[in-house]
Amino acid sequence: MDAYIVHLERLPALFNAWAKDSALSVPSATPEGFYEFIPWNGEAEIAWDYDLIYNPPKRFVMPAKETLISFDLKDLQAKPVFEAPAQIVFGMHPYDVKAISQLDQLMELGIPDQNYLKRREATVIMALTPQSVAETAFWASVGAEEVQHGFDLYWTKIGPASFLVEVGSKKGEELLHAAAPPTRATVSEKEAARRAKIKVNQFARRKQLLYNWEETPRLLAKNWDSPLWRKNSETCLACGSCNLVCPTCYCFDLVDEVDDKLETGTRSRSWDGCMLTSFALVAGDHNFRPKALDRYRHRYFRKGKYIYDKIGELGCVGCGRCVRACTANIANPLAVFNALWEESTHAF
């Protein structure tokens, strides 16, 4: 993989060049004391050492609400609506990049979802090696500490004011040349980047799964009837916060809206959550997952088994957002998987 060196003082010129043609988002501290991707305004202070972006970046590729079709109420003709604005997300941690790569695969699987794929194609992702780790994060123990694909450029801070930038795509390389040409990285600079990654990954491993993460689908398959599901879900408020902040949750609802004259309208999808009571409710008031236990277990099976069975990756990237969002303190995948491991016999 080609790698370049970019010095800090060159960044404003690069950012301004990129922001001419694309909506550029950068990580920054919010007044509320969180970190968030905000639009680059020419002078925003970049939070290089952020630990976790509060909201998952899935909104860049699958907005909370997105129009899918427009229709005419008179002749009932409907047309697809594709929105794919050019955008660049700068500074995404590898586990979030991995989450988006999963969505890429799941949205392409079977009948491809062009609303997603077109938006994704217009999105440039610049990964950034983390410099700090959120208290609730465990990404290094689920194989999400580094990514080999899914990014256009991969930035690693290797000195007080210098970055090693690995190239992930031709588009990324072109963007890097948008201002004055960057210099190629030397072997020692590449080594510095490798060490920076190892250092943070080692620190992140303080929160550990008790087993190799690839055992998770087998672990779950043996534990459908575990008492843990009931015990944990007893205090579930069915608020759906864990779904909302999850970077890999993508379930959606479809909603119609019409104009005041009742002539035209749109159908949109909006994020939905499998933890909400009505998620599997059908006509006649029959609910296929009536209990918190059913919904809670389903969510962990999706993350730990169903998605793995489809694409060979764990559906949980260990970002720790759900741990922080859950007011009942039951949504900790690491705690759930470890508890299941401890109570299992491991006899295959």
């Binding site: 009932l76 491809p112 609303n115 993508y250 379930c251 119609d256 309208g265 006509a283």
Partner: protein
């Protein structure tokens, strides 16, 4: 991938309501025709997504059999939610929009040369009617046709005149029951499994197609097991909240299966290991 880049699976096609026929207090049979002049080209057991723009979209099983001589298709719909209330308020000539057909169907060839046991609980008769009438049109290809129909009460019976015609035929065996009779009801009383002892079934040569309320399946399956019917020859159609119809939105999942694409019709042995199925 054979999909075009501007293809959206979410765009429905306009269709016109041709006829309306009341089947019970809440259930009406609607006959539709696609405005593009093409047949729906569905298979027995498949479903469509019906849109009433501005109100929403809901999934319905197609009740008519595939019929190359006809452009129309039928949906029997119970008035129960927003979309179905609006649909029931429509008059012939008015338009809706249709996506689909979606999902798996009853594998017709698996029924050829065998006896077929239909087990229809309540509205379950609606999707089964598609397979049943298909078999009747190709009557000689199939063995005995046994139809068990169960309803909560006599007022909720649907397709009563058609069922009467079937009862009169010599080549179809029909048995009906209701859970709660009224004064005029002279037939069998009890849940649908009470009909099983009333009819001889050859377990070695019978395929089963069953659709009904969620509670029905485990009891009917137990009866089939008692008779010794090969579970490979049992087909069920399962209801879930199909929303997108293309395996993306997550609403209709049975464990990791998407009912909209992997179902709604399943061979029983394909789903018996799934905890959320039956």
């Amino acid at each position: 991938m054979p999909f075009k880049k501007d293809f959206s699976p979410y765009v429905p096609r306009p269709a016109t309501l041709k006829e309306k026929k009341k089947l019970s207090e809440l259930v009406t049979l609607f006959t539709f025709e696609l405005d593009n002049g093409k047949a729906l080209a569905h298979r027995p057991g498949q479903f469509i997504q019906l849109s009433i723009f501005g109100v929403g979209e809901a999934p319905f099983s197609v009740s008519s059999p595939p019929d190359p001589s006809k452009q129309t298709f039928e949906l029997a719909v119970r008035k129960i939610g927003a979309v179905t209330q609006s649909l029931h308020a429509m008059a012939p000539g008015q338009k809706v929009a249709i996506r689909g057909p979606y999902g798996t169907s009853f594998p017709v060839l698996d029924f050829v040369g065998k006896d077929t046991l239909f087990v229809a609980g309540g509205l379950g008769y609606i999707p089964l009617r598609s397979l049943l009438h298909y078999q009747l049109r190709h009557r000689s290809e199939f063995g005995r046709i046994i139809v068990l129909v169960g309803c909560r009460n006599p007022q909720e019976r649907i397709f009563t005149d058609q069922i009467e015609e079937l009862t009169a035929r010599k080549d179809v065996e029909v048995l009906e029951t209701v859970d709660i009779p009224d004064a005029a009801w002279k037939g069998n009383v009890g849940v649908i499994t009470t009909l099983f002892p009333k009819i001889p079934i050859d377990p070695t040569n019978t395929s089963v197609a069953m659709v009904g309320p969620p509670i029905m399946y485990r009891f009917v399956l137990a009866e089939c097991r008692k008779l010794g019917i090969n579970p490979n020859n049992i087909f069920v159609s399962l209801e879930r909240k199909m929303k997108c119809g293309v395996g993306k939105c997550g609403h209709c999942m049975i464990n990791d299966l998407n009912t909209c694409m992997d179902g709604p019709v399943f061979r029983y042995t394909d789903i018996e290991a799934y905890q959320e199925a039956i």
